[in-house]
Symmetry: C2
Subunit: 202 residues, 2 copies
């Protein structure tokens, strides 16, 4: 036991340290910041943590995070969204990123992962069967596969495409190329190759 800090303090430092990207020094700083800050700040964070875990669920249609009393989720139950267009992403955070563009008016499907033989993640470990079921039930016209531009994301896209087979469904993939604001000389070989192959008329 560290005599310089009571166990109540070290317990919080340890809890913060378990978060990704938070080392022991950052965890200490956050803890001692909260000790000085008004108590309501710690209480609000604590209540938000509990409410987030106990007040949410996965949407039974798209598997995005939704409020526990809102199933299907706000996007799935919005008549203004085109339910015939489904954007397939790996994680709920990806939905937020695509929503920020303001360009997509369809619905989503969150896989909660990507295929990875190395990590032993197969089709049964991600929400791919419910996606195929949504397609089989009809009404879907376009599938935008927005998995990550990684080996795992590409494998997942290919797997979905293959499972759908010849169905007349339009299946697209997000464009690969140079990131906006990037520098050509720092682009890696793959990115530059794909940017060249996917070049468009000016």
């Amino acid at each position: 036991m560290n005599p310089a800090a009571p166990r109540q303090v070290t317990r919080l430092i340890e809890a913060f340290s378990r978060l990704p990207g938070v080392g022991p020094k950052t965890a200490s700083r956050l803890t001692y910041y909260l000790l000085r800050a008004p108590e309501v700040e710690s209480v609000e964070l604590a209540e938000a943590l509990i409410e987030m875990r106990q007040g949410t669920r996965l949407c039974s249609r798209c598997f995005n995070i939704t409020s526990i009393d809102m199933d299907p989720c706000l996007i799935c139950s919005d008549d203004g969204r085109e339910s015939g267009s489904i954007c397939v992403v790996e994680e709920p955070l990806d939905v937020l990123a695509i929503e920020r563009t303001g360009l997509f008016k369809g619905t989503y499907h969150v896989l909660h992962g990507a295929l990875s033989p190395v990590e032993g993640i197969g089709p049964e470990d991600i929400r791919v069967e419910p996606l195929l079921a949504r397609i089989r039930s009809g009404g879907v016209e376009e599938l935008i596969i927005a998995t990550n531009p990684t080996l795992e994301g590409e494998s997942t896209a290919m797997y979905i495409k293959q499972e759908i087979g010849e169905s007349g469904l339009r299946v697209t993939r997000l464009a690969r190329g140079l990131p906006s604001g990037g520098d050509l000389e720092y682009a890696d070989l793959n990115t530059l190759s794909q940017a060249l192959q996917g070049r468009s008329e000016l």
Copy 2:
């Protein structure tokens, strides 16, 4: 209201964003990490937050953070520590940093701030009077002033030295091995150890 994330999620993102050094992107990442992680991780963090605020108090002697049922604190009530030697620091985190060197066997006094005319922080806003009272009550032989090597920290050191006057008390200051303008809690172990060993008469 963001349809892509329920209010339970945005509430936690906002609570994390209020922490120092945590931007909205980091706050989102932490939140979605906790959504995936076992529920016990969120619950443990929430309980640690509450316990830290409700289970701690300031030691009535040195003003360091202590367990609510441990006053004076573990260091102040340890007979093995030299109570005649007091190390004066600005914040509780500074006690942790000095304890890590393992070189100091005395006790502490936490000021909870430093004098700053610019920010309107005067002697009555920090715990300097209780320190002078400890000295007046006798038994103190050495005062190591370990305030930060900043303008505010130096002013605080000079103020304390001046208030003590000609008392025969040995008053030292950490050696300026510390990088000027830095912050004590970020000092590496070596720098801090050297600063302790090279302390000089004020």
